[in-house]
Amino acid sequence: MARASRTSRPSFIQVLGELLITIGIILMLYVVWQLFVNDPLVSSTQQKQAQQFVADKEPSSKKFIAIKPNLKQGAVFAKMHVPKFGNDYERLIGQGTFQKITLNVVGVGHYLSSDWPGEKGNFAVAAHRTSHGAPFADIDRLKTGDKVWVETNDSWFTYEYRQTKIVKPSEIGVIDDLPKGMNGAIIGGKYMTMTSCHPKWSNEQRIIVWLELVNSEPKGSGMPAELLEAKRR
């Protein structure tokens, strides 16, 4: 049989079958690309972009957009440092949580309805857990004692870990000024909420990490000493 088909022209069914198999392989390759090729590429681009924004106001450094109401979507107004995610981990924070404008490009997105860093209420951000650089891939590793530093045009804000919660995507109260479900939250408290998908590779649930402001200082004297030390560890 193999010998007969070797000399004859391929039949229609044979060509169709091979085409369908090819299409299947291409679709699987897309997934491979998104998770294993594009993801690391975007991740290193995001890291490099973040590092161009330097803490001290050096002439070469890019500047954060000053915080004001009605900031344009995608505008980069801050940067977050999370030593727990890697010694040199830095990601830019852009306004809004549209994927094509902020999440897929800048990295971390600020919920439009939430407050600004350092303010009373809740500074809430979102980022991908997997794909597109996955800035919050290790969000589940944040534990008691961990700190996150948020750097804006003129200030440094230090937030300390408080609580992790897994919720349904519809439970949007978690980014309220008084975060719904956060133990010991009080009106007038200064909170930060990090949100991402859960579990990894899935869109079923959301993982929420709440933090509380423990320090804020004006810029000028360089990186906070504690952050410098954490980065060297």
């Binding site: 088909s5 070797r6 022209r9 391929p10 044979q14 060509v15 091979e18 085409l19 291409i26 390759l29 897309y30 690309w33 998104q34 090729v37 594009n38 949580t97 549209f98 994927q99 094509k100 999440l103 997105g109 979102a126 991908h128 857990r129 997997t130 794909s131 597109h132 995507p169 949100t195 998908c197 869109n203």
Partner: protein, 51 residues
């Protein structure tokens, strides 16, 4: 289809296999660096924050 293509390639079996490897690498890189990045821009914005 693919068996016909394989027969069309010049040279002995080893050379043919080498050509297949090079062709596959070419096709995959076109997909990875040109086609897929473009395809992604065509996807609609999802209504909620995903992934």
């Amino acid at each position: 289809m693919y068996s016909a293509l394989f027969r069309l390639l010049p040279g002995n079996f080893v050379l043919k296999v080498l050509q297949v490897v090079v062709l596959l690498a070419f096709v995959v890189s076109v997909l990875f660096f040109i086609v897929f990045p473009f395809v992604e821009t065509l996807f609609p914005e999802e209504p909620s924050v995903n992934g």
